[in-house]
């Protein structure tokens, strides 16, 4: 079988499938160990209850559903909450070294939307620890690893997916991977926006490959804009500032010095949220009787509050707000040392890229495109898509997060559903016969991917079209959306698609980055259309999707997810699918944790 993508989900899937005795090919877009998972900072959420023994899978489940505004796939949220602790402990058995509690167990930290300290972490470089652990474990599991490989198309044997076709970037040589089962683990699509925390790989490849192969995507309107990205200097705009800063006691202030997050606490979080700074501080220092500060509300809400302050003219000099961790020196004696120990990457990042010492000066931060809740529609237990033989896990799959993902739920999602995808894809490969590759399908894909060379230098530049797309999506389908702007975006996409159809590149096929950009561009345009059409369809505001023309949540829209798929005429079809009904015992769990 084949795994496409070698971040947390892809590696975990490959390890699981290999353990099941299946021969596994692993395709990496970059070098092994460099995938976007490496950038995750804060930690992975799992109800280990090491720090607060009141925690359990039930509380984690209820937190995830509340954060997702109840349009999540409840079964995925349940499986995730139940299985995450085992997946974290398994990483430790494979060599991961998490920070420790005083009695020597895995330490857990506070994060937005999580009732109790729940995130297993390693300072603020948890993603690096996770990917390195999986990588170093995986290389001894007989995986057939292909680095720097671009997948151009999925292949069919009738309705069944039969593998993938693409080229190695070093030589530009085409290659067919025939597989009885294929797992997509290609991550997100943040590169559709100008301001993003995503690495160059986040171009929606898996979303687009699955869609073109005939699979359904859901929830594409739900994009997470992380509240705290760097805003200055311009060249680092969008780089992530971990929520861990706020978990460790960092506060948000406007230009007037006001902690504006106290000004707007949503009704459904009021009973869990501190109503004064003193209580908030005690929470961050582990006082079990204190409620969490409003800076640790969910990301969608914090991002909107920041936008409100900026728009009202109360922002920082470079168009953000202030995030202050240095203030804790008023409360603890060794504050600079403590900050450097708890947030080493953040210290380093601001020191080197912005010339700012975060132990002495507040940071300037603003929202950045971070994560897509939407993605390939999958079965909750097996992670199989709507196409036989095609599975998906991690960010490119959808369901667990609903309208908004809680910080820390992504790393655990990668492990829980990466493992499941690997397990069920291996079982599928074992119980189904061999596949045949359709030569014509391969020839068509090869010819299409080579077209930019035929056009050469005289036509459009792929980098330029991508920049224009990013500007447009940022301006017209960003944090605050409105009908007429999104309609303009659809018209804009028509124009960009026409330009993309005539992009040209020069040179030869060996490591030609212009050619690679031309491949990515098609994927970005496709997912941008899916985002825009889904966002037009959801005429309400919920989670990561906020519309100024429909600023309130509408209960009628809480009963379905939005689905897109390719129609037989080649156009994108938008439809609605009912949110699966939740069993009574889980409704009870949610009630108990209100």
């Amino acid at each position: 079988m084949l795994v496409i993508g070698a971040g947390g989900a892809g590696l975990r899937a490959a390890i699981e499938a290999s353990a099941a005795g299946v021969k596994v090919g692993l395709l990496c877009k970059s070098l092994l160990g460099k995938a976007h998972t490496v950038m995750a900072e804060g930690g992975m959420a799992a109800a280990l209850a090491n720090v607060d023994d009141r925690d359990s899978w039930k509380v984690h489940f209820a937190d995830t559903m509340r954060g997702g505004q109840y349009v999540n796939n409840w079964r995925m949220a349940e499986l995730h909450a139940k299985e995450a602790p085992d997946r974290v402990r398994e990483l430790e058995a494979w060599g991961a070294l998490f920070d420790r509690t005083a009695d020597g167990r895995i330490l857990q930290r506070n994060f937005g939307g999580h009732k109790y300290p729940r995130l297993a972490h390693v300072g603020d470089r948890t993603g690096l620890e996770m990917i390195r652990t999986l990588q170093d474990h995986g290389i001894h599991r007989g995986l057939d690893v292909h680095m720097e490989f671009t997948v151009v198309a999925l292949l069919h044997d009738g309705p069944r997916i039969a593998g993938a076709f693409g080229y190695d970037r070093e030589r530009g040589r085409f290659r067919i991977f025939k597989a009885k089962a294929t797992v997509l683990a290609t991550g997100g699509l943040g590169r559709a926006y100008r301001i993003t925390s995503n690495s160059w790989e986040g171009t929606g490849d898996g979303h687009a490959l699955a869609y073109r192969a005939g699979a359904e995507l859901i929830d594409m309107e739900f994009i997470q804009f992380h509240p705290t990205g760097m805003v200055w200097p311009p060249s680092v705009q969008g780089i992530l500032v971990t929520e861990g800063v706020r978990g460790e006691g960092g506060v948000l202030r406007n230009s007037e010095g006001r902690r504006f997050m106290f000004d707007d606490i949503p009704e459904n979080y009021r009973s869990q949220t501190a109503d004064n700074p003193e209580e908030g501080w005690r929470y961050t220092q582990g006082d079990k009787n204190a409620r969490r500060p409003p800076e640790l509300l969910t990301r969608d809400h914090v991002a909107r509050c920041i936008m409100r302050e900026i728009k009202a003219g109360r922002g920082s000099p470079h168009g953000g707000v202030f995030l202050d961790i240095a203030w804790i020196k008023e409360r603890i004696s060794n504050a600079p040392e403590h900050i450097r120990k708890k947030l080493p990457s953040m210290y380093h990042q601001f020191k080197e890229l912005a010339g700012i010492d975060i132990t002495a000066t507040p940071m300037e931060v603003g929202p950045t495109t971070h994560y897509v809740m939407g993605g390939i529609r999958v079965d909750s237990d097996t992670q199989m898509s709507t196409l036989p033989g095609l599975f998906a896990a991690g960010e490119c799959a959808a369901g667990i997060n609903g309208a908004n993902r809680l910080g820390g739920n992504s790393l655990s999602d990668l492990l829980v559903f990466g493992k499941r995808a690997g397990e069920y894809a291996a079982a599928f490969a074992k119980s189904n016969g061999t596949v045949n590759v359709d030569e014509r399908e391969v020839e068509t894909a090869a010819a299409r991917s080579l077209e930019p060379f035929e056009r050469g230098n005289a036509t459009e530049n792929p980098f330029k079209v991508q920049h224009d797309l990013q500007d447009m999506m940022q301006d017209l389908v960003g944090i605050v959306r409105v009908e007429d702007e999104m309609q303009r975006a659809l018209t804009g996409l028509d124009g960009l698609n026409r330009r993309a159809a005539v992009v040209g590149v020069t040179g030869h096929r060996e490591y030609n980055t212009g050619w690679h950009a031309a491949q990515d561009l098609g994927n970005l345009l496709l997912v941008s259309e899916a985002i825009t059409r889904s966002a037009i369809e959801r005429k309400e505001s919920r989670g990561g999707h906020f519309r100024s023309d429909f600023p309130d949540k509408d209960p009628a829209f809480g009963t379905f997810n939005i689905v897109v798929r390719g129609g037989s005429d080649g156009t994108m079809q938008v439809s609605r699918a009912s949110v699966p009904p939740m069993p009574a015992e889980l409704k009870q769990v949610i009630e108990e944790n209100k």
């Binding site: 970059s30 420790r100 300072g123 170093d136 780089i239 080493p344 980055t513």
Partner: protein, 244 residues
């Protein structure tokens, strides 16, 4: 403001520096300038990068002759009155332009004996470790595998002893395993015979270029050298071995 970037263009057979004048602005890093050149003047310029935040270790290059991450090198730290040279790292074969073939590193790592934990400490299958014993290894595990330490190490760069010496990155990797509180494997013989820990003559070049500021030489390599010496070269042990 304008500055000129003198970028290496070429492949295994031939190549040359080429000058690209381009617009620069406040806060830019070298990778931004390279991207601007790529977008505006040379769409086929080969460059490897991922995160642009100093976390993935993909964009290693030599900037004005110094091994650095392009994404973490600010233009205001460089003299822009002269052309800025940007060239590929030298310890590995060139693929094209700024991209080198680092696959040797992956093969070396695979040959190192993997992590082998002691049995769990608690009935629920978990372990207990003190933060103080974890601290030391966490420093080593900050490594982002940018291979700048490999690039600057004269044993690989100048003497090309890739068959006899694994380089600082993999001595550090060995140290992270050997000093892992739970690990029970023994890698000392391999360190002596295959990984060539003895070749390192402690010039500390690797430590100086590490973008993660890991004290590779003092904290990782020297303790490994001491362990190897204690095991294989201690005179009393050798004497006892003779009489055994």
């Amino acid at each position: 403001m304008r500055a000129t970037f003198r970028i290496w263009r070429g492949d295994k057979e031939k190549g040359a520096f080429r000058d690209y004048p381009t617009e620069v602005s406040e806060g830019m890093v070298v990778l931004d300038a390279v991207h601007r050149v790529q977008a505006e003047q040379a769409s086929d310029l080969a460059v490897r990068w991922n995160c642009k935040a100093g976390k993935c270790g993909s964009c290693s290059a030599e900037i004005n002759g110094k091994p650095k991450l392009m994404c973490m090198t600010r233009l205001d730290s460089i003299d822009l009155s002269q052309p800025v040279t940007v060239e590929p790292i030298k310890a590995f074969p060139l693929i094209r332009d700024l991209v080198t073939d680092v696959s040797w590193n992956y093969r070396v790592k695979k040959a190192i004996k993997p992590f082998k934990p002691r049995p769990p400490d608690a009935p629920d299958g978990t372990w207990r470790m003190d933060q103080r014993e974890v601290d030391r290894v966490q420093e080593f595990r900050k490594c982002i595998e940018c291979f700048l330490c490999q690039d600057v190490c004269h044993i690989l760069r100048d003497h090309h002893l890739h068959d006899e010496f694994t380089g600082p990155r993999f001595l550090l990797y060995n140290a992270a395993l050997e000093m892992h509180p739970l690990d029970t494997e023994d890698r000392l013989k391999d360190l002596k015979d295959r990984d060539g820990v003895g070749y390192c003559n402690i010039t500390r070049c690797c430590t100086k270029v590490c973008p993660e500021h890991i004290t590779i030489t003092e904290n990782a390599i020297i303790p490994l050298k001491e362990r190897v010496v204690d095991r294989f070269y201690d005179p009393i042990t050798r004497l006892l071995r003779v009489f055994r």
